[in-house]
Structure formats: structure tokens, C-alpha cells
């Protein structure tokens, strides 16, 4: 999907998510998104090694319970 981070829709969705899980538990910083862009699969690791960009999430959401 890739919502532009400077679009109002990005902020609309981000605040809707923080409303459910709390401000601290929706990460949109580069470092957090980067950490969720490579797993133990060789291809993304190699891609990163070659200086290429791997797809990143728009939001990293950390839930504490299954329902609010």
C-alpha cells in the first residue's frame, strides 16, 4: 500500500492505531521499521548487503492483549 508519511491519511491511520494500543506502541521511526524489514531469509539480507532497500512497514504495532 505505502501511504505517504507526509499525507494526512498517514496521520489519520496512525492516530486511530494509537487510540487502540497507546502512543508508545505504534512505531513509525526509521529504525523500528528497518528492524522489521529483514528476517532470516537470505534474499533480504543479501539485498541489504548490496546497499539496496528492502520493503518496510508503514507502522509497527505492538499489542498487549487481543482486545481492548
Amino acid at each position: 500500500m505505502k501511504i505517504k508519511p507526509d499525507s494526512y491519511m498517514f496521520e489519520m491511520i496512525r492516530t486511530e492505531l494509537t487510540d487502540v494500543v497507546g502512543e508508545d506502541y505504534v512505531d513509525v521511526k526509521f529504525a523500528d521499521k528497518f528492524g522489521h524489514s529483514i528476517d532470516y531469509y537470505w534474499i533480504p539480507e543479501m539485498w541489504h548487503d548490496r546497499g539496496r532497500e528492502c520493503p518496510k512497514p508503514d507502522f509497527v504495532v505492538l499489542r498487549k492483549s487481543r482486545a481492548s
Binding site: 500500500m1 505505502k2 501511504i3 491511520i13 486511530e16 492505531l17 487502540v20 506502541y25 528492524g35 522489521h36 524489514s37 529483514i38 528476517d39 532470516y40 531469509y41 537470505w42 534474499i43 533480504p44 539480507e45 543479501m46 539485498w47 548487503d49 548490496r50 539496496r52 528492502c54 520493503p55 518496510k56 512497514p57 508503514d58 507502522f59 509497527v60 504495532v61 505492538l62 499489542r63 498487549k64 492483549s65 487481543r66 482486545a67
Partner: protein, 413 residues
Amino acid sequence: MKIANQYKIPVVPWGGGSGSQGGALPIYNGIVLDMKRMNKIIKIDKEALTVTAQTGIITKHLEWGCNKEGLSTMHLPASIACSTIGGFLAHRGTGVLSTKYGKIEDMVMSLEVVTPTGEIIRTLPVPRHASGPDLTMMFLGSEGTLGVITEVTLKIHPQPEARKFRAYIFKDFHTAMQAGQTLMRSRLGPCAMRLYDETETKTHVSKVFGIDLDKGAYLVFGFDGREKIVDLQMQYAREIMEKQFHGKDLGSKGGEWWWENKYKFFYPGYMFHVPQAFGTLDTVADFSHIENVYWAMKKVVNKEFPDARFIGHFSHWYDWGCMLYARFIFPGDKVPPNAEEAAALYNAVWDKAIRAAIREGGVINEHHGVGLKLGRYVKDLYGTAMPILEGIKAKLDPNGIMNPGKMGLPGCW
């Protein structure tokens, strides 16, 4: 999930990110749902011997929780310290004691799942029922494509009085394979068994143990439970290994080496790393087919990719067959510096080796899952049953938001 459905945003569950198949990668961006805050042990039931936990718990923490009560999940994978129990449920993963205690799917009593449309459902509380098809099994191995598994109840076990190992070197891999199969057919019930082909014995097992093993194939197995029974099982197993197959006995010490080092194989110094290109060609087949699968894969890798090395061991053994943990490894200087060319070479090995395995009756795969890496072979594997899998996905996830593009299921972005 309701928000994601409203705006049609992809949702990808993320446990420890230790999966090797690209299953947790957000290939279409969207939301990564990191499960690690859902990390509580909810209940240990000492009568039923079950544990109920949230699925974001690190597998080792779950094991520690059970150990405090003198109990164990007996789910001991090499990634125990960096993976969540949810990741194992999602990939039908396994641990080193699988031969006796089963893979994760054999351990599950029931699940709580948040469906793609945001409903919270529970599967039936016990696995042995005759109340229709088993929804628990449908969610196990679904890799986040059919929902988020939020809670699990697992069988647990008392710690055994004794766990003993023994190892042998056989003159070649074929003889060791026959010995291993005979032990399984004897129904003596080992808790673990592992057989390394000649190349992996020489290059890998020797290095991990820090000793020079003889030429041949290394086979190790163990039994656990009440000590007297373990000793008796071991005695019968030794007769098979020594009298029937003339294995060279490395004694209990030779077996303990493996148990002590069982995770070391997968960690730096012993594992492969970029710039090398490497992959685990995880395949499972019954005893009538497994050797042919091994030879077919080895032949295709050796012939088509002379720069690559092929090694293999057989990790998880069942009454009817076993798992082949085959690997190909390209040295770093034989991997193209260009990313697209490197990816093309890598995928070509998989295409050839996996299709050779399927032709010989192998199933890809036994415990690593499908993810992004193997999605394109799922249609070959399922054949005319594929529309059933696709239909389940379409019904449960009408907007296609859950981990799109994985497991050979549609990616809609």
C-alpha cells in the same frame, strides 16, 4: 484488524523475525503486528499437564516458566532464544526432541485466533474429538495468512529421570540410513535421532565437536524417561547398530557431544553467512522415498551448480519417514555482486532442487514453512487441491489483508 480492514491495509504478524522463509516480511508495506508484548504465561495446569500462553512469548521464556514447575514443553528448537511460540505455530516448527514428543502441531491442545475480519475465536479445547474437521490444524501452519494466533494451550511433560545418547560412525550414509530406519521400525521410541552424510560429518560435525571424526556418516540417537527403561531401550538399539549394521561405537560420550552442541551448529563460526549464498532445502518423505530425494537433490545441485557445495543431515525422524535438512553453499566469491543476478542464481537452485525433490515423492517442507521463498511451489505441491486452500483464504480474509503474497496465496497490492 478492524482498522486494517476498514482501510484495506496489509497486516503481517511478526514474532522474533527468525523465520528463514521471508514469512514475516512486509512485502507490501502496511502494518507489522509485532507480537512480543503478548508474552504472558496464563496458566500451567498440573492435572492435565498443559500450559496456556500468549503467543508472543519467546520460546525459551515459556520453557523456563514450565521448568520452574519441574515440567517442560519438550519443544527445544535451535532458535529457542530468539523466536516466539507463535512463529512455531505459524510455521509448524519443531525442536530437537520431535521424534518422541512431536512437532509443534502434535503438542497443541487448542488455539485462540483473531480472524482477518477481527473476530476472536477459539478452537475446541481438546485435539482428540470427532466434532467435525479440526480448525486447530487449519490455523497451524497458516503463516499469518488466515489470522493472528493470540493464545495457545500446549501439552507439557514431567522432566525425565534420565536422557541418554549414543553415537556411531557408519561406513557410508546409506548404511547409516538403513540403521536409522531399522531403529524407527523397531518402535523402540527414541526421543531424538540425527544422521549426517559423509560430507557434513567431515566438514561440520567434526568442527562443531572440535574432534577429527573418522571417515563415514555420524548417527546419534537418544532415549529419555525412567532410567531402567532407557537403559533397556538403549541396549536393544545398540544391538541394531552394532550387530546388524556394524557401526563403530563412539559410546555415550560421542552422543553427549551432540546433545551439548545441538544449538551450536546454527550459530556464528559454524553457520553460513552473507557473502556466502546458502539455503536449507528442507524436505520430508517416507522411508521408501527419502534416499532418492537426497540423491536427486544432490545430483542436481552438483551437476547444475558446480560452484556450490551440497551437504545434508536427517534431523527429525518419525515412524514412517524422516526430514532431510539438505543445504547448498556458494562461497562468497562465486556469488554475483549484482543483487538481481545473485537473487536469480539463488532462486535457480531452489527451482531445480525443489522440483527434483517433489518428483521423487518429497514434500517441501517439514518445519521451516513456505513464506515468500517457497510460495511459487505450493501450486505444484497441492495440485488440484489448491483451490480449496485459496477458497479458505478468500472466505476468511475477504479483503486479502493478512500477510498477502505469502504461502503461494494471492497478494492483492
